[in-house]
């Protein structure tokens, strides 16, 4: 392979001194500071819902929840459908795929007197350990029943490790109802 010789750039005196570049940088910062104080940062209020004091959002006084894109990957949660059926059948594929092993499921059989007895199986325990979750969305992607979704919630906090584990009840609370999903366990089924 041919060798390409690169010539060092010839610096001008101004460049060699450094100071002009430093001053240029400082003037940009100063310009932004002045515009922030005057409330004139472009798009700050409109696009980022900031306080107006520059582009920086004053979290948690202001949040950008309504700016989140649809594909935002927040807290994973379980959903019920419009008929109130819990969609998860505890196939444990999410538990299998989960890279940090955040999901733990114990399946159980649905009692024969349950209106959804024909589904036969549901989770008895469904825990997602949010100290482990990396919000990768693999669980949502792998779910064959459209039962688990990453929601828009991102501020998941707790005072202990135990509190950071979302149990089944909490997961359905976060997930809520999702309409218009594939109705696989329908009347024909």
């Amino acid at each position: 392979m041919a060798i390409i010789k690169i010539k060092r750039p010839q610096l001008t005196i101004a460049e060699k001194l450094y100071l002009p570049a430093v001053i240029k940088g400082l003037s940009i910062t100063l310009g932004h500071a002045i515009r922030a104080v005057l409330g004139k940062t472009p798009g700050a209020k409109r696009n980022f819902n900031s306080s107006g004091m520059g582009i920086t959002m004053q979290y948690p006084e202001t949040k950008w929840d309504d700016q989140l894109p649809d594909y935002y990957r927040g807290v994973p949660a379980l959903v019920t459908d419009e008929k109130g059926r819990e969609r998860c059948v505890s196939c444990q594929l999410c538990e299998f795929i989960c890279p940090p092993k955040a999901i733990a499921i114990i399946p159980t059989e649905i009692e024969s007197d349950d209106p959804w007895a024909k589904v036969e199986k549901r989770p008895q325990v469904f825990d997602i350990d949010m100290t482990r979750c990396i919000y990768c969305g693999m669980c949502e992607e792998v779910c064959p029943e459209q039962a688990i979704y990453l929601r828009q919630d991102y501020a998941m906090t707790g005072l202990s490790r135990a509190e950071m584990v979302n149990d089944k009840e909490r997961l359905y609370e976060i997930g809520g109802v999702r309409e218009g999903l594939v109705n696989k366990w329908n009347e024909i089924k």
Partner: protein, 582 residues
């Protein structure tokens, strides 16, 4: 071939050995005459997908999945001599239609194609038909992960269904027996379960009803699938139509770790696989060993495993103080046991070993007896009627091994003397392992009359309750070791789990008790089960050169006991009659 008269043709050399030459996917191999085509392909390491075929059952050929292309040399015209190529084989003329590989036998100069357009198309067609009425149950189906339909639909199935009509409705979630659930929609009519119940279990309660697409597997009206071998149909079922109540919805199979081991519920020592996740046993299934249990095992043995997470497990050494057991640590309890045993003369101590113990543990028991200079060591016999199938009359898994290790023709011969000694008070101390003495014909009074009772158990029982010192041992699924079954076959147990909490392997406990008595340093005892097994192989002539590291998973016969397993006798007979491949 000009020199065909002088040199032997391959067909003649093969015929002398009782073999035939066949060509599988272009390669010529020799297989025994009468081999099924599917087995010949297996010998040639070519996979032929199949559902209904099972070597231990008859071959009705009803799934049509094993279709292959077959060819034979063309029939010569009258007066025409067959022509041979330079390798001595005749030209193969391929048949335009496929044949099933499971129910046809090979012939000289036969050609088999397991690949190619025709075969692929056939498989795709069969697969599509099988999936037409199959429900989309995989997320809730226990078979998922080990399902023949899933596996072959990946290889030969279509990505989507062309079937627009409504699927046929059939009974789902039917309780056809105390241990088995049937889902008829998932069934692909392979009839393996029907044939098993008829041919092996000899209780033909299953059968097909209805016709065509409405064909349904069902149980005979008024009967149940409650045979003690019924759960084998669950293993046989290539799809999720038959599922076990015990394992139903417990865990997906891909999470489970398989550990090959042996069953310890009777003297047959059926080969098993223990399926675990974490430290929990989820199921036990038979492992094929044609000299022990074929492919089957009884339900009663399959469902009686001791899991580390069971409630009745002993988890810490216990010392009785003022009639109440108190948990203590290993060093305290071993020292206490050593001190207590030293109070007695050799002839005042009896050792109750067990036919449930491994050779390694029995050897330690023997060493303990020798250290205490007592010859009162015995195992307790457990005999019940044999079921004339796989369950042996001897319910101890290692009676043969106990006889060999303890050096007694009948390892139970000292039991009467021990019982008498305890009754008349000449025996004051008893060390018992793995045997509930109250179950074994000792009375509660006898046991209360003892001055010292030390026991090793893995679960709680009345004898443990009465013991002065109780050591928590390991269950059969938690230890490595070897056992010798009723036919004299040396087999190996592997640890699938670890013992719960403070419980330990039994041989280590006995070893520590011996050290506490002799006052030797731990270095003088065997340091690992492998080292112990090495010591045993040096001490017992029949076990020479046999240690845990080199016993194969299928074991090997080391003693001739003249005992046979009834189910295997029938199987041998059926193979001889050509009913099954075997």
């Amino acid at each position: 071939m000009s020199d065909s008269t002088t040199t032997k043709l391959p067909k003649d050399t093969a015929a002398e050995k009782g073999m035939v030459n066949i060509q599988v996917d272009g390669h010529w191999i020799q297989v025994p005459r009468g081999t099924r085509m599917i087995e010949a392909c297996k010998l040639a390491e070519k996979e032929v997908p199949h559902y209904c075929y099972h070597p231990k059952l008859s071959s009705p050929g009803n799934c049509r999945m094993c279709l292959v292309q077959m060819g034979m040399p063309p029939r010569p015209n009258p007066g025409e001599e067959p022509s041979y190529d330079e390798n001595g084989f005749q030209k193969i003329s391929w048949m335009p239609r496929p044949v099933i590989a499971c129910a046809n036998t090979v012939a000289e100069n036969m050609g088999i194609r397991t690949k190619g357009d025709l075969v692929e198309k056939c498989r795709e067609g069969v697969m599509e038909f099988l999936l037409i009425n199959h429900p989309l149950d995989c997320p809730i189906c226990d078979q998922a992960g080990e399902c023949g339909l899933q596996e072959f639909s990946v290889q030969h199935g279509k990505g989507s269904s062309r079937f627009k009509e409504d699927k046929v409705k059939k009974p789902k979630n039917v309780k056809i027996g105390p241990r088995i659930r049937l889902d008829d929609e998932r069934c692909i009519m392979c009839s393996r379960c029907i044939r098993f119940m008829d041919e092996v279990a000899q209780e033909p309660v299953l059968g097909f009803s209805e016709r065509g697409t409405h064909t349904t597997v069902g149980v005979y009206p008024g009967r149940e699938l409650d045979n003690n071998y019924g759960l084998n149909t669950v293993d046989l079922c290539p799809v999720g139509a038959l599922t076990s109540n015990d394992f139903r919805f417990q865990m997906r199979t891909w999470f489970l770790k398989e550990t090959p081991s042996i069953d310890t519920n009777c003297g047959t020592g059926a080969n098993i696989i223990i399926w675990t996740r974490g430290n929990k046993i989820f199921r036990v299934t038979p492992r094929q060993n044609d000299d022990v249990n074929s492919c089957w095992m009884p339900d009663s043995h399959r469902l009686s495993y001791t899991c580390p997470s069971h409630d009745n497990r002993l988890s810490a050494p216990l010392i009785k103080a003022d009639g109440v057991h108190e948990e203590t640590c290993w060093s305290n309890s071993i020292a206490a046991a050593g001190e207590a045993i030293k109070q007695f003369e050799g002839n005042e101590i009896a050792i109750i070993a067990s036919g449930k113990q491994t050779n390694e543990e029995l050897f330690m028991m023997r060493t303990l007896a020798a250290e205490l200079s007592t010859d009162l060591i015995s195992i307790i016999p457990h005999t019940q009627e044999s079921d004339k199938m796989l369950i042996s009359e001897d319910r101890n898994p290692n009676t043969t091994g106990a006889g060999l290790i303890l050096g007694l023709d009948d390892p139970t011969e000292k039991l009467a003397a021990i019982k008498d000694g305890i009754c008349n008070g000449s025996i004051k101390a008893v060390i018992a392992a793995s045997e509930d003495l109250l179950d074994a014909g000792f009375s509660a009074d006898d046991i209360d009359g003892l001055e010292l009772l030390i026991s090793i158990f893995n679960t709680t029982n009345a004898t443990a309750q009465a013991s002065d010192i109780v050591f928590p041992g390991a269950s059969s699924a938690e230890k490595r070791g070897s056992m010798i079954n009723v036919t004299g076959r040396l087999q190996k147990l592997n640890a699938a789990c670890i013992p719960p909490a403070d419980a330990r392997d039994d041989w280590e406990i006995i070893s520590d008790i011996i050290l506490a008595i002799t006052g030797e340093t731990p270095e003088q005892a065997p340091l690992s089960i492998d080292q112990l097994s090495e010591i045993i192989s040096n001490n017992i002539p029949q076990l020479e050169g046999k240690n845990l590291a080199n016993i194969s998973e299928l074991g090997e016969v080391i003693i001739d006991t003249n005992v046979t397993i009834p189910l295997l006798d029938r199987e041998t007979q059926r193979i001889a009659q050509g009913e099954i491949v075997g």
